[in-house]
Structures are given as C-alpha cells and as structure tokens.
C-alpha cells in the first residue's frame, strides 16, 4: 500500500491505496464519491471525468498515486460554487438530462470550460465536449444548457 494525500473537494484526504488502483475506484469505494461513474474504463466515454488542478481528466486513466499532492474536484464539491449551480439549473431547465449516467461528467467538463473562458461559441463547446458521450440527448440540449449558463 502507498500512502497518498490530496485535496478532495476542498478537504484534505489521506488514504492508503494499492499502486495499481485507479482514481475512479479510490473515489467510489474508499471515499464514497458516487457522482463519478464507471463507464468504458478506457478513456473514451467521459462519465468518470473529474478535475485535477482544474483540468478535466478521466479518473479511469490516472492512478490514485499520481494525484498525491494535487487537487481533485467532483460534483459533490463543485456544488458549493455559484457558477456550477447555474450550470446544473440550466441542465434541468433545458432538459439536458435523460438517463443521467453521463451527466456528472458533462457538468464537470462544461464547468472547466466556463471557468477557463466565458466568451465561447457553440463550436468551442462542441470541441470541449468531444471526450464526453451521451446516448440519450443527442447533445443538442446539453449544448443549449451550457450556452444558457453563459447568458444568465
């Protein structure tokens, strides 16, 4: 086991993990962070997206030992943020959620985009969301929800 310390949703956490443990499993099984979903587990679907030091990454594609000393944010913690709340309400109002399995990943990626820049176009949104798959909505409403957040 390797002792790892990192900041999770603003709080310092310490956890002993196996070197071959991925962040996705540590978050779900050791730390109870259930917004982070298991999907393809090969870096394609995006439902396990979290922020590491503000950048969106796939938690299935990073070892937990690699986030030692870093900052990890998920929906649970981002919910404290006003911009994130606006984004969530827009998703609800625009019907950008159907089955909901992909939603945490989309919210996290979209939040990272809005944090970076606010002068974004529909194309910027599509580019940023390339790494998140949704099989229900056809993306249209997700993009509308993000545009709506900017205009609010």
């Amino acid at each position: 086991m390797v002792h790892v310390e990192f900041t999770l949703n603003g709080r310092r956490v310490e956890v002993d993990v196996e070197p071959n443990e991925i962040l996705l499993d540590t978050l779900r099984y050791r730390l109870g962070v259930k917004s982070v979903k298991r999907g393809c587990e090969r870096g394609e679907c995006g439902t396990c997206t979290v922020l590491v030091d503000g950048d969106p990454i796939y938690s299935c594609m990073v070892l937990t030992v690699q986030v030692d000393g870093h900052r990890v944010d998920t929906v649970e913690g981002l919910w404290e943020d006003e911009l994130f709340k606006k984004l969530v309400y827009s998703f609800v109002e625009k019907g950008a959620i159907q089955c909901g399995y992909c939603t945490p990943g989309f919210l996290v990626t979209a939040y990272a985009l809005l944090k970076k820049r606010r002068d974004i176009s529909r194309d910027d949104i599509l580019k940023a969301l390339e790494g998140n798959l949704c099989r229900c909505t056809g993306y249209k409403k997700i993009v509308e929800a993000i545009l709506d957040t900017i205009n609010k």
């Binding site: 070197p19 071959n20 499993d25 870096g43 394609e44 990454i57 594609m61 030992v65 690699q66 390339e130």
Partner: protein, 294 residues
C-alpha cells in the same frame, strides 16, 4: 474493489537524475508520464512490467522554449499545453494543428508529447508532423545524452531506438518560413479514435515549381513514414492538379498498410492517395496557391 491493472512496484523520482538512476538499476520497468496509453496497455496485458517509474514530478522535463530558429519542447509537456502555447501556434502551426485534432480534452490534459512518441504507435498523431518538420530528439541516460533524428527513432510498432535505461528528454523542432502545411486525418469519428490514415504535409513553391515537398503518413505502415516517392516525384515539377494527381498515386510505394478492426488494407491504400492529395492542396492554399479539385 476490483483491480484490472496487474500489480507492480511504484517509483516516483523527484528529479531527472533520480529517474535515470532508477531506470538504469531497475531493468524491468516502464515509464509512466500521462498514462493515457500505458494504463490501457497494462489492462490488455500488452506490458506487465515489475516496476513503474512515474516521472510526473520531474518538472525539468516540462517546458516550451523559443530559441528563435528552433523550439525546444520538454518531453513531459502535456498535449493541451502544446495547443495552448502561443509559441507553438505561431512558429510550428503544423504541430498545433495535429495536436488540436488529437483525442479529447481529458486525454490531452494528461497525455504528453514524449509519451505519444515513446509509445511508438503507428497511429501516433505527433509523429507525422514531427517527421516532416525533421525534428531531432534528445535522449538521456546515466551515461549521457545523444541526439537522434526522428526519422531514425521508430523501429516498428511500439519499438524505438531507446535503450533500456534511456529516456526521451526533449524534442527540438526547427522553425520554417514560407511553407504551406496541413495535417489531415481520417477516423471513424472526429475525436480520439485512432485514425485510419493521417497525413502531414509541408510544401514550398518558388516560381510556380515545388522547391520542397515533405509528406508523412500515420497508421499505414509499422511506423509513421515519409512518402519519399511522392516527394521525389513532385520536387522541381511545376505545380498543377495533374502533376499532384500523378504524384500522389505513388504513395502506395511508401506504405504497407494492414487490415484491422478499423479498416482494410485496400481502403487504407485508397484513402492514403485521397488524403495525400487533399493535404497537398490544403498546404498550397495556405501559401495562396489554388489548384482546385477535391
């Protein structure tokens, strides 16, 4: 908890000397940088190293330095940092264009340019542009440094000239002026699937004649390759649609595609011709020359 990545010993050196010492001493080891290729390879059992050396704390491998006539890029530079770099966008726009089309934001936030090259996938997106840019790679071990041309770096699928105790330290990319360029790729969808074929092109034209043509393709041979037959045919010929059409047919002499889950060899051959044509035409457009036709 279920682990589908085999067990290994984990090492996290805090500087380059420590990393090189570990690499030399441990023998059976793999380096992890971004990990976006390696974790998949570990899951499917392509590699099962006893040791993993995590170089993410080796910050001295992370930089983009503008030296005027050339740019030095540290191997640990993330793909997203390459896209966001003003220096790269202005001085090596071809590399910017290729990395911009790579993978997804999540993968680019982790994956590194060094990892993309050292993993040596025939489909590595940074390889064709660096091949036509004629980049040099600085390799380092406890025995010292050496520089190799990128054209000599790849030996086969997942094989490079890196010795067991060597690490890619830096990519040195010359800056060019007056060239048209383009990177095109054909995949089964836009983002992050491996390409069926990709083409990087650089062209220079003087008095209506091709004075320099450089073309490299990915995913159509055991390693990324230069299309020397096409380059040789076009060089010193006048620029016209007919000449380009004749030239690109020769690309089949430079490639040796295979049939796999993504496409058949025959389709890859046909698409290599089409994409090479498009890539040359797009490059010419960028220096104000229209030859038309698609």
């Amino acid at each position: 908890m279920f682990y589908n990545i085999p067990r290994f010993s984990y090492h996290k050196p805090s500087n380059l000397d420590e990393a090189l010492e570990l690499l030399d001493r441990l023998g059976d080891a793999k380096i992890i940088a971004g990990g976006t290729d390696l974790l998949i390879d570990l899951r499917i059992g392509r590699y099962s190293p006893r040791n993993i050396i995590d170089i993410n704390r080796v910050k001295e491998l992370k930089y983009i330095v503008d030296e005027g006539e050339y740019i030095r890029i540290g191997a640990l530079t993330r793909l997203q940092e390459i896209i966001e770099s003003k220096v790269i966008k202005e001085k090596i726009p071809l590399l910017h264009e290729a990395v911009y089309q790579m993978a997804s934001w999540q993968i680019r936030s982790r994956g590194t340019i060094g990892g993309n090259l050292c993993n040596a996938s025939p489909a590595a997106d940074t390889a064709p542009p660096l091949l036509v840019l004629e980049a040099k790679l600085k390799l380092v071990s406890i025995d010292g440094e050496r520089i190799v041309d990128i054209r000599d770096f790849f030996k086969g699928p997942r094989e490079t000239v890196l010795r067991h105790n060597e690490l890619l330290k830096e990519i040195i990319v010359p800056v060019y002026h007056g060239y048209g360029y383009s990177y095109l790729k054909l995949g089964r969808r836009n983002s992050f699937t491996l390409s069926i074929v990709s083409v990087a092109t650089m062209v220079r034209v003087e008095d209506g004649v091709f004075s320099d043509v450089r073309i490299a393709l990915g995913s159509v041979a055991p390693t990324p390759v230069r299309a020397h037959s096409v380059e040789k045919y076009l060089k010193d010929r006048g620029v016209s649609m007919e000449v380009i059409r004749e030239g690109v047919e020769l690309v089949v002499n430079d490639i040796s595609p295979i049939t796999d889950v993504r496409a058949s060899a025959e389709y890859r051959r046909s698409m290599s011709i089409v994409l090479t044509y498009d890539s040359i035409v797009t490059s010419l457009k960028r220096i104000g020359i229209e030859v038309g036709g698609g």
